[in-house]
C-alpha cells in the first residue's frame, strides 16, 4: 500500500490544477487568487501556470464578481468563484441563491449554471465575530444548490473535482484551520479522475455504542473524542457527512439503527442548523424507533464569536464537550 502525506491545502490546489488542465472552460476568479497565490495560498502556482485568462484577480466587489461568475457559467464556462471567506459571500448571496441556485428550475431546464463557489467557512483563530460564521445551514437550506463540506485531504481532492465537474451550482465549504493539516492519501486517490460522489457520507470510524455525526473540522475532534472514549470501552461510530446538501440521511439512519444513540457535532450555531435538520430527519424516519435516548446536538455557542482566546475556545465545541455529550446520551 502506497501512501503519501498531503495537506488539505495541497489537495485543493492539485484538484484545481488538474481540473483546469482537463477542461479549458474551467477558470478561477476571486480576490488575490492570482498574483498573491491566494489569500490562504490555496491557489498557489496556478496563475504562473495558467495566466491571466484563467486565473483572475478581482476587485473587492463580491456582489459584482459573483454575478459575473454566474453569468459566465450561464454562457458556457465553468467558473470557480472563490470567496476569501464565506462571511463575504453574504454580500453576494443574492447571486448565489437567486441567480445561480434557482435558475435551472425557473427556466424549466433551459438554463443550467455549472459553477463552484468555494472558500473557507466557519470559525478560524482570533478573527472575531464578523469573520467566523458558519454558513452550512444557510446554504444547506436552499433547493437548487449542492453544499459540500470536506474534512480530510482526500475529501478535499475528490469532492472539489466532483464539484467542478458537476453541472450545477455547488457551494464548497472549506476550513482555514484544516488547510495545513496533513493526511495520508492512498495511491488510488492520486489519480486524476479520483472523484468522491456528492451526497454520500463516510464512516470514518466504526463503532457499536453511539453514532456521532459531524462535518468539516469537527470530524477531527470527534475522532479524538472517540479515541479517549474507546479507553473507557465506549465505541463511537464517527460519520463524516462530507455533503451537507443533499444530506446522506440513509447513512446516518443505518448507523443509528445499529447503535441506538445519536449525537451531532458542528461548529455552527445551534438554532435552525445542520444538527437540527439531522435530528428532524431521524424523528421522521425509520431510525426513530431504534433510539434508546433522545438524539442531541453539540454546536457552537449561540453567540457572536468573541476575540479573546479563552472566550473563543469556549465558543466552539471542544473534545471534552463531545465526550460529555456522548456519556450523557448513553446514560440517559
Amino acid at each position: 500500500m502506497f501512501y503519501i502525506r498531503v495537506t488539505v491545502r495541497d489537495a485543493l490546489n492539485q484538484a484545481m490544477d488538474e481540473e483546469l488542465e482537463r477542461d479549458e472552460r474551467v477558470f478561477l476568479l476571486g480576490e488575490e487568487v492570482a498574483q498573491y497565490d491566494g489569500a490562504y495560498k490555496v491557489s498557489r502556482g496556478l496563475w504562473k501556470k495558467y495566466g491571466d485568462k484563467r486565473i483572475i484577480d478581482t476587485p473587492i466587489t463580491e456582489m459584482g464578481f459573483a454575478g459575473i461568475a454566474v453569468g459566465a457559467a450561464m454562457a458556457g464556462l465553468r467558473p470557480i468563484c472563490e470567496f476569501m471567506t464565506f462571511n463575504f459571500s453574504m454580500q453576494a448571496i443574492d447571486q448565489v441563491i437567486n441567480s445561480a441556485a434557482k435558475t435551472y428550475y425557473m427556466s424549466a431546464g433551459r438554463q443550467s449554471v455549472p459553477i463552484v463557489f468555494r472558500g473557507p467557512n466557519g470559525a478560524s483563530a482570533g478573527v472575531a465575530a464578523q469573520h467566523s460564521q458558519c454558513f452550512a445551514a444557510w446554504y444547506g437550506h436552499c433547493p437548487g444548490l449542492k453544499v459540500v463540506s470536506p474534512w480530510s485531504a482526500e475529501d478535499a481532492r475528490g469532492l472539489l473535482k466532483s464539484a467542478i465537474r458537476d453541472d450545477n451550482p455547488v457551494v464548497f465549504l472549506e476550513n482555514e484551520l484544516m488547510y495545513g493539516v496533513p493526511f495520508e492519501m492512498s495511491e488510488e486517490s492520486q489519480s486524476k479522475d479520483f472523484l468522491i460522489p456528492i451526497g454520500k457520507a463516510k464512516i470514518e470510524r466504526q463503532g457499536n455504542h453511539i453514532t456521532v455525526v459531524s462535518h468539516s473540522r469537527m470530524v477531527s475532534l470527534c475522532l479524538d473524542a472517540a479515541a479517549v472514549l474507546a479507553k473507557e470501552g465506549i465505541e463511537c461510530e464517527v460519520i463524516n457527512m462530507r455533503t451537507i446538501r443533499p444530506l446522506d440521511a440513509e447513512a446516518i439512519e443505518t448507523s443509528v439503527m445499529k447503535t441506538n444513540h445519536l449525537i451531532t457535532v458542528e461548529g455552527g450555531w445551534p438554532q435552525f442548523g445542520v444538527g437540527g435538520e439531522i435530528l428532524a430527519r431521524i424523528m421522521e424516519g425509520p431510525a426513530f424507533n431504534y433510539l434508546d435516548a433522545p438524539a442531541v446536538r453539540v454546536t457552537g455557542v449561540d453567540i457572536p464569536m468573541p476575540y479573546a482566546k479563552i472566550l473563543e475556545d469556549n465558543s466552539v465545541p471542544q473534545i471534552k464537550d463531545i465526550i460529555f455529550s456522548v456519556k450523557k446520551t448513553l446514560n440517559a
Binding site: F65, G67, I68, A73, S112
Partner: protein, 390 residues
C-alpha cells in the same frame, strides 16, 4: 455610403428629424429609401457618436412595424387577461417601449447575447420566443416558454438570459456572459439592460469597474422611462445623466422612441465592443404607458396629461407609421392588414394560453439539477416523497 444614382430627391423637415426621400429607379423597378437625419445624440467620453443618418428600406420598415405592433398588442392582451384574473402575480408591461427592444435586436445578431430585468416580454419575443409561448407562460400553462414554472419574470430563450426579478442583479450576470464571449473568442457581445431605477444599484457600479478593467464586450443599456416604480428620476438619482454614470465608460444618450435611432446607436455600440475597446453605455429615453406593474395604475405619481402627450407626440409605432405613410413607403391598407394579422396572432395565442392545461403535478419537483440521476424530494410532510428528474 454607397449612394446610388437617384432620380428624385426631396428633403424636408419632420418633427425634429430631417428626412431625405430618395427613389432609386432601376429597370423600371422602384425602390424607396428614406435617409433619416437626427440631431447629434449626447455623448460622453466619445469623440464621435453613431452616424447621424440611417437608411430605412420598405422591407425593414414593415418588419419593424410588425414586430413593434406585435409587442404592443401582446402586452395589451396581457393587461386584459390580468384584469380577468387569468394572469396572476407580477406582470410588468412594456407598451410604449417597443422601439427599444426592436431597435436593439436589429442592431445585433441573434448569435449575440442579451439580458434584461423583469419588463421582459418584448425581449423574449425579439430574442426568438413566440407569442404563444410567452402568453402561455403568463397564464402558467405547460405550453409556456418555461413550462409554467417561471412566470412573467423568468422567460428564457437561446442567448437570452431572462427575465430577472432582482433589480440590478442582471447587470453583473450580463457582464459575465460578455466575459464568456471574450474568453471563448467568438466575437459575440452581450447587451445588458437595466432601468433608471436600477441604475443606482451598487452592483452595477461594481460591474462597470470590472467590465472596463477587463475590456468586456458588453453594451450596458439604461432604459430610462423616467420612473422607477413610483419614484421619478429626479427623486431617485443625484445625477439623472445615466449615460454618464459609467464614468470611465463611454456613453451616449438618445431617443428611445425612435426605432431607427436605437438601431443605429446599437450598431455603433456593437462595433465598439467587437473591436475590443471594452464596454459602452447607452441611455435610451423612453416611456411606459402602463404603471410599473399591473398593481400600479400609474397615475398617482404622474399625470394622465403626461401619458397622453407621449402617446400623441412620441409613440414609437405611430412615429414609424407616419414616416412610412407620408413617404409612400407603405399604404394605409397595407399597414392595416399587418394590424389585422397581428391581432389574429395575438388572439390565437391568447386562446392557446387560456385553454392549454396547467403543468402536470409530476413536474413539480423536476428541473432542480441538470444532468443528475433522478432523486427524491421531500413533500409537505414526511410521508410524501416526490420524484425529481433533470
Amino acid at each position: 455610403t454607397g449612394v446610388m444614382p437617384s432620380k428624385k430627391i426631396q428633403l424636408f423637415y419632420h418633427r425634429n428629424y430631417y428626412i431625405l426621400k430618395y427613389i432609386k429607379i432601376e429597370n423600371f423597378h422602384f425602390e424607396l429609401f428614406l435617409f433619416i437625419f437626427w440631431k447629434k445624440c449626447d455623448l460622453h467620453k466619445l469623440e464621435e457618436g453613431p452616424p447621424l443618418q440611417a437608411v430605412l428600406t420598405r422591407e425593414e420598415g414593415l418588419q419593424y412595424y410588425r414586430t413593434m405592433q406585435t409587442i404592443r398588442r401582446m402586452e395589451l392582451k396581457a393587461d386584459q387577461l390580468y384584469k380577468q384574473k387569468i394572469i396572476r402575480g407580477f406582470c410588468h408591461l412594456y407598451d410604449g417601449q417597443e422601439a427599444c427592444a426592436v431597435g436593439i435586436e436589429t442592431g445585433i445578431n441573434l448569435s449575440d447575447h442579451l439580458i434584461t430585468a423583469y419588463r421582459a416580454h418584448g425581449y423574449t419575443l425579439t430574442r426568438g420566443g413566440t407569442v404563444r409561448e410567452i402568453m402561455a407562460e403568463l397564464t402558467g400553462r405547460r405550453g409556456g416558454i418555461a413550462k409554467g414554472k417561471g412566470g412573467s419574470m423568468h422567460m428564457y430563450t437561446k442567448h437570452f438570459y431572462g427575465g430577472n426579478g432582482i433589480v440590478g442583479a442582471q447587470v453583473p450576470l450580463g457582464a459575465g456572459v460578455a466575459l464568456a464571449c471574450k474568453y471563448l473568442g467568438n466575437n459575440e457581445i452581450c447587451v445588458c439592460l437595466y432601468g433608471d431605477g436600477a441604475a443606482n444599484q451598487g452592483q452595477i457600479f461594481e460591474t462597470y469597474n470590472m467590465a472596463s478593467l477587463w475590456k468586456l464586450p458588453c453594451i450596458f443599456i439604461c432604459e430610462n422611462n423616467k420612473y422607477g416604480m413610483g419614484t421619478s428620476v429626479e427623486r431617485a438619482a443625484a445625477s439623472t445623466d445615466y449615460y454618464k454614470r459609467g464614468d470611465f465608460i463611454p456613453g451616449l444618450r438618445l431617443d428611445g422612441m425612435d426605432v431607427l435611432c436605437v438601431r443605429e446607436a446599437t450598431k455603433f455600440a456593437a462595433e465598439h465592443c467587437r473591436s475590443g475597446k471594452g464596454p459602452i453605455l447607452m441611455e435610451l429615453q423612453t416611456y411606459r404607458y402602463h404603471g410599473h406593474s399591473m398593481s400600479d395604475p400609474g397615475v398617482s405619481y404622474r399625470t394622465r396629461e403626461e401619458i397622453q402627450e407621449v402617446r400623441s407626440k412620441s409613440d414609437p409605432i405611430s412615429m414609424l407609421k407616419d414616416r412610412m405613410l407620408s413617404n409612400n413607403m407603405a399604404s394605409v391598407e397595407e399597414l392595416k392588414e399587418i394590424d389585422v394579422e397581428v391581432r389574429k396572432e395575438i388572439e390565437d395565442a391568447a386562446q392557446f394560453a387560456t385553454t392549454d392545461p396547467e403543468p402536470p403535478l409530476d413536474d413539480l419537483c423536476n428541473h432542480i439539477f441538470y444532468n443528475d440521476p433522478p432523486m427524491e424530494v421531500r413533500g409537505t410532510n414526511p410521508w410524501t416523497k416526490l420524484k425529481s428528474v433533470s
